[in-house]
């Protein structure tokens, strides 16, 4: 196992570098005038242009530019934005908001998704099963953008139950955006759980468990659920990495100052250093949680051995 993890870690390095290089290329090096791209619509003084060219080694070939960036990155220096604020400070300020949002979303995803999936899977083709099937189809079909507005209109403006913008009310502020962010994954978890349970209920070892004279509750919990949840738990694990990087729309609509909204603002303002820094971080999260899930898989399913 240790060797497997080490090997996987080594394999993630090229992906991490590749992804940040891709973003770096898009931000700084697409054909055209990089300074024009960098500065966007603002007027830029020649002095600033000179500093930028120096800072990003714009007169060097692209690989050299990226190599300089990478060297700084490894020494913990993500650069500064146009106003001279270190990108690292921006991340430190915004990341906690995104982490809280992700936590709330994963909580919704796991609790609601699992409960719905288990109830549907145990009584397949029953009323609740059909309800889950139809409602998950509807939920995955509603774009997050639309869902966010509907949630704001209904629960925020009409009913007044939840705050619809900002983080002033602490954890309570995260309920609505968390639910919106979780919706798609929640529906998927419900379906995955349902399918997995329905499949396992027909498994030979469940028949054995009944033949052993185990009480029905034990047959379901210890011999059906335990096995069915392996793919679900691993999906939720990997989804943490996705949610940490996928909250651009939710954070923007709900006005939450997290890394998603920050990266969106920075893209609009063409703050290249901030964009590359945050995106690299998001890619890191994504890869990291996928690795965690692979390891988790082996822990949960003894048949899987990576050595």
């Amino acid at each position: 196992m240790g060797r497997y993890v080490a090997r996987r870690l080594l394999l993630t390095i090229p992906v991490l570098i590749g992804a940040s290089f891709l973003i770096f290329t898009m931000v700084y090096a697409l054909p055209g005038d990089p300074i024009r791209a960098l500065a966007g619509d603002r007027p830029v003084s020649p002095a600033v242009v000179a500093v930028l060219r120096e800072r990003f080694h714009l007169d060097d070939p692209l690989p050299v530019q990226y190599w300089e960036y990478l060297k700084n990155l490894l020494s913990g220096d993500l650069g500064t934005d146009f106003r001279g604020r270190p990108v690292l400070d921006t991340i430190e300020r915004t990341l906690p908001v995104t982490i809280k949002l992700t936590l709330v979303a994963v909580l919704f995803e796991a609790v609601i998704g699992l409960v719905a999936g288990v109830l549907a899977g145990i009584r397949r083709n029953g009323f609740f099963d059909n309800l889950v099937l139809v409602s998950t189809t509807v939920i995955v079909s509603i774009p997050i953008l639309v869902l966010a507005f509907v949630a704001q209109l209904l629960f925020g403006l009409k009913l007044g139950w939840f705050p619809i913008a900002g983080t002033r009310e602490g954890w309570f502020s995260y309920v609505l955006p968390g639910l919106v962010l979780a919706s798609g994954s929640l529906a998927y978890v419900a379906r995955l759980t349902r399918t997995s349970i329905a499949e396992n209920m027909r498994a030979d070892y469940v028949r054995t468990a009944k033949a052993k004279g185990l009480p029905p509750s034990r047959v379901i919990v210890r011999h059906t659920l335990r096995n069915s949840l392996i793919p679900v738990v691993t999906f939720i694990g990997a989804d943490i990495g996705t949610l940490l990087g996928g909250a651009i729309v939710t954070e923007t609509v709900f006005n939450l100052p997290g890394i998603g909204r920050e990266v969106f603002d920075s893209v609009r303002a063409q703050e290249g250093a901030v964009v590359v820094g945050i995106v690299t971080l998001m890619v890191f999260f994504f890869i990291f949680f996928n690795l965690v899930v692979d390891v988790l898989y082996a822990v949960l399913d003894p048949r899987i051995r990576y050595d």
Binding site: D204, Y205, R207, T208, K210, A211, G213, L214, P302, R303
Partner: protein, 349 residues
């Protein structure tokens, strides 16, 4: 093990003087959208302490389904079970689900064909064997594991104490089936149902597993129902044999009698279709035709479309037309029953 031990596990007391197991006119059908599948159509037999009854038949003959009905592990619906299954005199089909459950394990136990898929892949074998003691007897984790090791020793798994924490996939096929057996005999059941226990195994391993089952039966005096399509296994192990076709028993008798001279054309066909050591050089004769479709079982004798002895129309004796009159299971010679209008002609043929 005495009957009072069963009482202590919560199962109901036996009716004095009753046979160990009486299956009486058992019917099982599966109601599906496409129609009704009649898997078992009136099966009757008894099993005594220490007796080994082989149930012989091809796949789809209802032998596995009838066994699962006895265990009470068919899902109802879609399955519908009728008739009576009396364990020590008490009908399991009229018991509450909870009473029935408490018989599974200490009363009747079952092992399945494919031990790899029948064992839960995510628990160690020790945990799965020990679960019997923990659930039925409230044993502690530690105690359950200790007794699991003893059982693994008893079914001759080498280095049991070391392997108790291993998972099913880490065992060989034969060893896995031993784990299944250990689990099934954990609570000293009065009846063990073995559903094709050796079909998935190599020939040499088959013999070892069958020997183990026989030895265990001699030690404990349990009744053994052996479900198989393997005539060799029946010949070696069983006292009596019941041959099933299309959900019915078509012939029943001692193994020696039935194997020497079949009284039903289907049994006769089975004997001729397998190679026999004694009759080297003879030609094998497969049974012509297809096994019956259980959703549309032929009228009359279900075997008549494939039967070499059938008599149709005017050729038949009154009330014994093979395509219209269902032959009852009847005594044809001493200790032998067959469901054929013309068993007397088949015997000695």
């Amino acid at each position: 093990m005495t009957l009072s031990d069963i009482d202590s596990t919560g199962a109901a007391p036996a009716v004095p003087g009753a046979s160990l197991l009486e299956v009486d006119d058992l019917h099982v059908e599966f109601r599906q959208r496409s129609g009704v599948v009649n898997a078992v159509n009136g099966v009757t037999y008894t099993l005594a302490e220490g007796q080994t009854l082989a149930i012989l038949g091809e796949s789809g003959s209802g032998k596995s389904v009838s066994a699962q009905a006895i265990m009470g592990i068919l899902d109802t619906p879609p399955a519908v079970v009728r008739g009576a299954i009396r364990f020590q005199g008490r009908d399991m089909l009229t018991m509450s689900a909870e009473e029935q459950r408490k018989i599974r394990g200490p009363g009747i136990s079952m092992i399945f064909q494919d031990a790899l898929s029948s064992l839960n892949p995510v628990y160690s074998v020790g945990w799965q064997i020990g679960e019997m003691f923990r659930v039925h007897q409230g044993a502690s984790r530690k105690e359950a594991k200790q007794r699991a090791i003893e059982l693994m020793d008893r079914v001759r798994i080498p280095a049991a104490a070391k392997r108790v924490n291993d998972y099913p996939h880490q065992f060989s096929g034969g060893m896995r089936q031993r784990v299944m057996i250990a689990m099934a005999i954990a609570l000293d059941p009065r009846i063990l149902i073995a559903d094709e226990p050796t079909t998935a195994l190599d020939v040499t391993v088959q013999a070892q597993v069958m020997d183990l089952l026989k030895d265990l039966q001699q030690e404990t005096g349990m009744g053994l129902i052996l479900i198989t399509h393997d005539l060799g296994v029946v010949n070696e192990v069983a006292d009596d044999v019941a041959v099933m076709y299309a959900g019915r028993i078509v012939e029943r008798g001692t193994v020696d009698d039935v194997f020497t001279d079949a009284a039903h054309p289907y049994t006769e066909g089975l004997m001729k279709s397998v190679p026999q050591v004694e009759a080297k050089g003879g030609r094998l004769q497969p049974i012509v035709g297809q096994p019956p479709n259980l959703a549309a079982i032929p009228s009359g004798c279900p075997f008549h479309p494939r039967c070499a002895h059938r008599r149709l129309g005017a050729a038949a004796a009154p009330g014994r037309e093979c395509a219209t009159d269902v032959p009852p299971l009847r005594l044809v010679t001493t200790g032998r029953e067959a469901a054929c209008h013309y068993s007397e002609e088949v015997l000695g043929a």
